[in-house]
Point group: C3
């Protein structure tokens, strides 16, 4: 049941890869496909599918019911909320298998989707294939993301738009004169060209 002593694999799950880091837990009825790579101290809920070619770094939390598709990379500390997150690497306008079968084998349809360090994907969010979700950004519950999300952005709606900016700790930031200090953890940020970054003094 365990690849190593400190990995937990639920007896009802189906784990076909050997590449799982220590401390990681895989829960019930979840399918980890051969060729997926999962780092250390991750927590992958029930009824998930982690497809061939997916790369998941360390400390990533994936809630019940997520299906993660080939081409997706999750960096350290990502949080993927429950159930409605779908990152597909199928083409933007996929067609039936008969039409795409020749195409399928070329793998030219494969695009990459990257969830950067510390990003949060809310419950029911939808991530279109090929987008980049910036570090420490927050995709709100129910948001439909069709464009790249900048670091620390808070995105919501269908289609998703930037509604604000959030600290590494998740706190909403209030900017005055392109400058904000997090009221929770005291990290400071500067804003320029509709992008923010940690202030360096």
């Amino acid at each position: 049941m365990n690849l190593m002593d400190d990995i937990f694999i639920h007896p009802t799950s189906l784990v076909e890869t050997q590449q799982i880091g220590r401390g990681t837990r895989i829960w019930a009825f979840t399918h980890i496909v051969k060729g997926a790579r999962i780092g250390r101290w991750c927590n992958i809920g029930d009824h998930c599918v982690i497809e061939v070619g997916v790369k998941i770094a360390d400390n990533v939390v994936i809630k019940h019911g997520n299906k993660i598709w080939e081409g997706v990379t999750l960096e350290n500390g990502g949080f993927v909320g429950p159930s409605k997150f779908s990152a597909t690497t199928t083409p933007p306008k996929p067609r039936c298998i008969t039409q795409t079968k020749a195409n399928y084998n070329t793998r030219q349809w494969l695009v990459t989707t990257r969830i950067h360090e510390g990003a949060t994907i809310g419950a029911g969010a939808m991530i279109v294939a090929g987008t980049v979700i910036g570090e420490f950004s927050v995709v709100s519950a129910g948001a439909v993301v069709i464009h790249n999300v900048p670091p620390h952005a808070l995105v919501s709606g269908n289609p998703g738009h930037i509604q604000g900016w959030v600290c590494q700790c998740g706190k909403l930031l209030k900017f005055h004169n392109q400058f904000a200090r997090c009221s929770s953890c005291d990290v400071s940020y500067t804003k320029s060209n509709n992008r923010i970054k940690v202030a360096t003094f």
Copy 2:
């Protein structure tokens, strides 16, 4: 396979609680976590997860694929449509496990979500943690609910807004001078301050 003679538990499901009322049916590949409480005559579909601490009353219908999270209470006669309903009790701005681990054990992040008697959650609706879904309200298919839903309200859209009012029987009501009588079941309602209630004569 049965806790009692009149409970049906599908052989592929994983039921860890003893607290299931009579007449309830649990379907395939569903995981009822230890500590969940489920009432009588409920019907819980395939691929569901009912988490620790969830309370489900009597006559509740939960369609395939729903994940119900700690902190959620479903009162009598709720109907939770298929697949996209997600009630999460994780914090509004959850962060990765390394950031929240200390926080996690305090359980200060736990908020409660309550689906009141007779409410209907449409297919693909998204319910944000901490909201209250009023009695006999209808959350339309695909609605993203981020605010409390008053009793008998019909909510749709992303974000969800009140589009009208519905009878206990599910029929859309037409108000004239703050008064409506259901054309289907003859129950009467009065409206005041953008809330409705059953008329008492």
Copy 3:
């Protein structure tokens, strides 16, 4: 494990129907309910449920996590993207089992939903019961479809609206004077009354 030599049924899946055409593959933890009919060369992913009465033709691709409900018909070559597609045949305003139990047995609530040949349902789309999805149409990721979708239409948003028109091959069409030729595959189309069809010369 196989109904016939050239059908693949994953050992963790639960297949209760005998009506599966040759070349079809059924993947992990998927439940095909008795009475469902599935054609040839289909590919049905993990954690799906195909309900009683569902009819699926040939060459249909159904990605992980889809729940297909009684009353749904999928014609040849349909592509159902991952995870958030929900076609429910429950009534538009379903109520709890106690209220609908008498109603349930009459089956008057059953409406039909038809996905025509070659249509594409994007990741996370939501299809309301009773709608018709026209041939070779594309329902974009995250779209909430509450009206019929004409053939070749591209629909997105919540609620879904027609945003453009697509070729059989999936390419977006540009119309000039009610006429378009696909830049990818050279098929020509005419437009009339906000509907398009293949041009005949």
